[in-house]
């Protein structure tokens, strides 16, 4: 089961603007095994969506992959042509987009939209495609009588189910979920997360879950990678990272979420703003907001600390002071 499905090797995606280049993703590396799920967590603007869009080449035209490699099943897919892509998207990798409310076309019937990738990527007749849509609707627990409705007749949760059905249409090996539950209510979110977990087990898919909500990670992901300012700062098994976090940013981020089972105390905030990615600071990108630095030169002068597995338990961290700030 430990076969590598997706590997990102020092991926760099920059956006060209009039002033120069915004380094949205600057050296991201991770591997994702078959059947595994990885959570990519970070605040807005940290490059998590850009990473996902780089994988399926949906970057806006200002965005360019400037370095690094993306390997899918051992094949380099960094610079694919449109022809190769059409064989890759939906069939190998599909995406659940952010904002269930707006991801469907309002003037087309839901079944036609779900059937669209099937008709495009598999040589089937419309009738066969509709049969498949019916199967998919059953899979995501939607009423098949609603197949011929329009998106406005669906509630938010139903639309999200339809989008998941669409993502599953061509039996992909990897699903990228870009904030799949952000716009939904707590109860609907629980329903959708349960559905995703169940389907992943049933169909043995890998998943890359992008979210800003750390609290849903422990329910859905085997591994987690915390991103900050275009880089991964900490990565490892979900349980290990969340209970023994080593990076100060992760620690702060965890304490920003309330725990209703613990003592009632005010959540923490992280003072300051993330750095400007047009001219990122030398040294550690988090140094300016870090509570552990306190004038430590090593953080501000050197290059950004590399992501290293110090503990030998598959728990990677990019911090000079990971062990103890007083050692420096």
């Amino acid at each position: 089961m430990s076969e590598v499905l997706l590997e990102l090797d020092n991926l760099k995606t920059y956006f060209t603007v009039t002033k120069g280049k915004v380094k949205a993703v600057d050296g991201v590396s991770f591997t994702l095994n078959r059947g595994e799920s990885l959570g990519l967590v970070g605040e807005s603007g940290c490059g998590k969506t850009t990473t996902a869009l780089s994988i399926i080449k949906l970057l806006p035209k200002e965005g360019q992959i400037e370095g690094g490699r993306i390997l899918f099943e051992g094949k380099d897919i960094t610079h694919q042509t449109e022809d190769e892509l059409s064989d890759f998207r939906w069939k190998q990798v599909s995406m659940i987009f952010q904002g269930a409310m707006n991801a469907l076309n309002p003037v087309k019937r839901v079944c036609d939209q779900v059937a669209e990738p099937i008709l495009l990527h598999e040589y089937t007749t419309k009738k066969q495609a509709m049969e498949r849509v019916k199967e998919l609707f059953e899979l995501v627990e939607l009423d098949t009588n609603l197949m011929y409705s329009y998106p406005h007749e669906f509630s938010g949760g139903m639309r999200q189910r339809a989008i998941i059905a669409m993502a599953l249409a061509c039996h992909p090996k990897l699903i990228i979920g870009d904030e799949p539950t952000t716009a939904l209510d707590v109860m609907v979110q629980a329903q959708i997360l349960d559905l995703i977990n169940e389907l992943r087990g049933k169909l043995n898919m890998s998943m890359l879950m992008i979210t800003h909500d750390l609290s849903i990670i422990s329910d859905t992901c085997d591994k987690v990678a915390i991103m900050y300012a275009g880089r991964i700062v900490e990565m490892g098994e979900t349980k290990e990272v969340l209970s023994n976090s080593l990076h100060p940013y992760t620690k702060k981020l965890i304490s920003a979420f309330p725990n209703i089972y613990a003592e009632r105390k005010m959540v923490d905030s992280i003072p300051g703003d993330p750095p400007d990615l047009y001219t990122p600071p030398p040294g550690c990108r988090f140094a300016k907001r870090c509570h552990m630095v306190g004038g430590k030169e090593v953080c501000q002068v050197e290059i950004h600390p590399p992501l290293i597995d110090y503990t030998g338990k598959g728990h990677y961290v990019a911090c000079h002071l990971w062990r103890n700030p007083d050692e420096y």
Binding site: D185, I217, S218, A256, F257, N259, I260, Y261, S269, P271
Partner: protein, 335 residues
């Protein structure tokens, strides 16, 4: 009267209905009326310097309650008492004072600020009502104070910026400064942190708690996030389909709730770093449409422990412990 001194806001059987526009035939010939009861006979009270959280899913009527309370949506029936005085649109003299003392913070800081106004214009706009003769210099001083309090430091640097130059957290602080410049006694905060990142959220919440503690401001904190409600409020009220299902001290969220709906909500709450401790109760289906309100208890269609009686008789909103109200025939822990 004793209550006049302790309660800043009292809602008594508040009802907000919205009429659905229909086709000509149904509207004028058949004279059928379709009405959505967004808020259905809600009674609430908020004490002075207290934060009350109103929690619910979308469509539960929590925003309508907040807006009706400030007379931003017409009230169909029932009454709103503010500091013992009835708040009504026709009572012009009192409305002016009410508008000064009760303020609102809106959800989306990206849309609630006028993009053509500078921060100074936005923050000092309410002063047109109270300090209409103030000079520019006086206004500037007040604006600086308000911004400083809202955590935009140095305030002078932000005074002549436009909203597009600010981040989401900074914009929400501008909204708070606008609110604060009136030194209100009562604020309705409608999902003030739902658009913000987790790292910025805490600062805004701390600001509310500080306002409560230093100035004695009362809050109606409208949110969909139970954990946040638990964190900052003194009391919580959980709403479903226009009715309050359960209300009581904030601690009820952390295990003490007895209504099946609140138990389901708290059981699906994800906590960072740990699997949920209690058994997850995931409710099936969707919230029914408020156009076709279920008979009897309005939660019975999704209730995991509903009984025969729930389908027939509507439960009363009753007090089961001092300060702990519940709308359910058979309150108790679900096993």
């Amino acid at each position: 009267m004793n209550t006049e001194n302790t309660n800043i806001v009292e809602l008594c059987q508040l009802e907000v209905n919205f009429k659905i526009k229909q086709r000509f035939y149904e509207e004028y010939i058949k004279r059928e009326k379709k009405i959505v009861r967004a808020v259905d006979k809600v009674s609430l009270h908020i004490k002075k310097s207290e934060i009350l959280s109103l929690v619910g899913e979308s469509g539960s009527g929590k925003t309508s309650t907040g807006r009706a309370l400030l007379q931003l949506t017409p009230v169909t029936s029932g009454s709103v008492l503010f500091d013992g005085h009835p708040v009504e649109e026709k009572n012009k003299g009192y409305m002016k004072e009410f508008r000064k003392r009760a303020q609102m913070i809106f959800q989306d800081p990206y849309q609630s600020l006028n993009p053509r106004f500078t921060v100074f214009d936005i923050v000092t706009e309410p002063l047109l009502l109270t300090h209409s003769r103030a000079t520019l210099a006086e206004k500037e001083v007040l604006a600086l104070q308000a911004l400083e309090f809202a955590g935009l430091r140095p305030a002078a640097e932000y005074l002549y910026r436009y909203p597009h130059e600010l981040s989401g957290g900074q914009r929400q602080r501008v909204s708070i400064a606008t609110c604060f410049i009136m030194s209100p006694d009562f604020i309705v905060a409608d999902e003030p942190v739902s658009m913000l990142d987790a790292s910025v959220r805490a600062d805004i919440l701390k600001l509310f708690v500080r306002m409560k503690e230093e100035k004695g401001t009362s809050f109606l904190f409208i949110t969909h996030d139970l954990a946040l409600a638990w964190l900052i409020s003194d009391r919580v009220a959980i709403m479903y389909l226009g009715k309050i299902m359960e209300s009581g001290p904030a601690d009820i969220i952390a295990g003490g709730c007895l209504h099946p709906y609140s138990q389901a909500l708290t059981s699906v709450l994800s906590i960072v770093g740990e699997q949920s401790r209690t058994k997850r109760i995931v409710l099936k289906d969707e919230t029914p449409s408020p156009l076709h309100m279920p008979k009897g208890c309005r939660f019975h269609t999704r209730c995991p422990v509903s009984r025969e009686n729930c389908r027939i008789e509507e439960p009363e909103y009753r007090e089961i412990e001092p300060g702990h109200f519940i709308y359910c025939h058979y309150p108790g822990k679900i096993v």
